[in-house]
């Protein structure tokens, strides 16, 4: 019986994605500020891009998953 061999693609999964809020970069504070005027990265709830880097649409775009 023919058994299909496993390739890396077959066992790959989709990494977690987050929705990154729209933001503008503030050169005075040297941080990103969301359009609702909160700092994009916050301690308790979220650290957007804190562990990975994402495109603005949330797609991981990174070869550094550490």
């Amino acid at each position: 019986m023919f058994v299909e061999l496993i390739t890396p693609l077959m066992i790959a999964t989709t990494p977690m994605k987050v929705e990154v809020p729209a933001s503008v970069y503030d050169h005075n504070k040297q941080t990103s500020i969301s359009t609702s005027n909160e700092q994009v990265a916050q301690y308790v709830q979220r650290t957007f891009s804190g562990t990975r880097t994402y495109l603005p649409n949330g797609q991981p775009f990174d070869s550094d998953n550490d």
């Binding site: 058994v3 496993i6 890396p8 040297q30 603005p56």
Partner: protein, 297 residues
């Protein structure tokens, strides 16, 4: 003054800059065109639109955060992209040669890849049997009678939206026309990770009981309020081993991942970039303060 090279959407940099803004110049490579820069034989200077500036006269150190991510340079013109990358590298080289750097170099893992690091780590820790390759030779691997996992050497995306996280596989069923990075599967109770920040070691553990799959990196709980990682007390011997390993590979920054099995730490890998905020999201354990202090020193 510290030159902090990163991207404008980097959350870690955002969190650090509420305590670094008076001391550091953030130079985001994805919005390079919003800055002005001049580099000459004996002098360089960068200014941002708000009038904050750094120059060869004021700069002392450079920290390149998220070291490997030039991909976010969203420039279609390849010539322009390569020229910009070159300039960032030249600036960094200036600090390597004439000033000093903080953290690890952007190309650390080009010199010390995962296999080299495991080989070095074997001097200080228990390491899993590892086998990398393709073709028929892989059928004779030392792992052939063991439970094994497949991992990725690069952690790169396989397609536009998929990545290979640690997955248990059966050697007999692998297509050996592909390169495989295989390790013996360790039955572990906890993930342990040590963040190295200057002279400080911050170690945390995470119980694997509720883990879905084998890899904590792919858990959907990065942003939960619940603290999944808790401080872990290293033995003196473990501490010495970590310090000796760091000394051997000449780093004072980064994160080492271990598994805890039968009360022993099993070395998995060293991450030069050393992401840390997920370990202390509520700033309970002083990681942010330690990083700020390290960068200011």
């Amino acid at each position: 003054m510290l030159l902090f090279i990163t991207g404008s959407r980097d959350g870690t940099a955002d969190l650090l800059f509420d305590k670094l803004n008076d001391f550091a110049f953030r130079f985001n490579y994805d919005i390079f065109d919003e800055y002005q820069i001049i580099i000459e034989n004996d002098y360089w200077k960068i200014t941002n639109p708000a009038g904050i500036e750094i120059s060869s006269n004021t700069a002392k150190n450079c920290f390149w955060w998220k070291a490997f991510n030039f991909d976010i340079l969203n420039i279609k013109n390849m010539y322009l992209k390569e020229e910009i990358k070159y300039i960032y590298r030249e600036l960094y080289s200036y600090f390597l040669l004439f000033k000093s750097i903080k953290g690890t170099t952007p190309y650390f893992h080009k010199k010390y890849g995962k296999l080299t690091l495991v080989k070095i780590a074997k001097e200080f820790f228990i390491v899993p049997d590892t086998s990398v390759g393709w073709g028929k030779l892989m059928k004779k691997t030392i792992l052939k009678n063991k439970n094994i996992v497949a991992k990725s050497l690069t952690s790169g995306l396989i397609t536009t939206d998929k990545a290979l996280f640690t997955t248990e596989v059966n050697l007999e069923k692998l297509d050996l026309n592909y390169p495989w990075y295989l390790q013996e599967k360790i039955e572990a109770t906890d993930d342990i990770t040590t963040f190295i920040c200057g002279d400080n070691l911050f170690t945390f553990s995470r119980n694997r009981k509720e883990l879905v799959g084998l890899d904590w990196r792919n858990q959907n709980d990065f942003f939960d309020d619940d603290q999944k990682w808790v401080p872990y007390e290293l033995t003196k011997k473990e501490m010495n081993s970590i310090r000796s390993f760091a000394k051997k590979i000449r780093v004072e920054w980064g994160r080492i991942d271990f598994l805890k099995s039968n009360d022993e730490l099993i070395f998995l890998e060293y991450n030069a970039n050393g992401q840390f905020f997920f370990l202390d999201t509520k700033n309970q354990y002083g990681l942010k303060d330690a990083v700020v202090e390290y960068l200011r020193k």
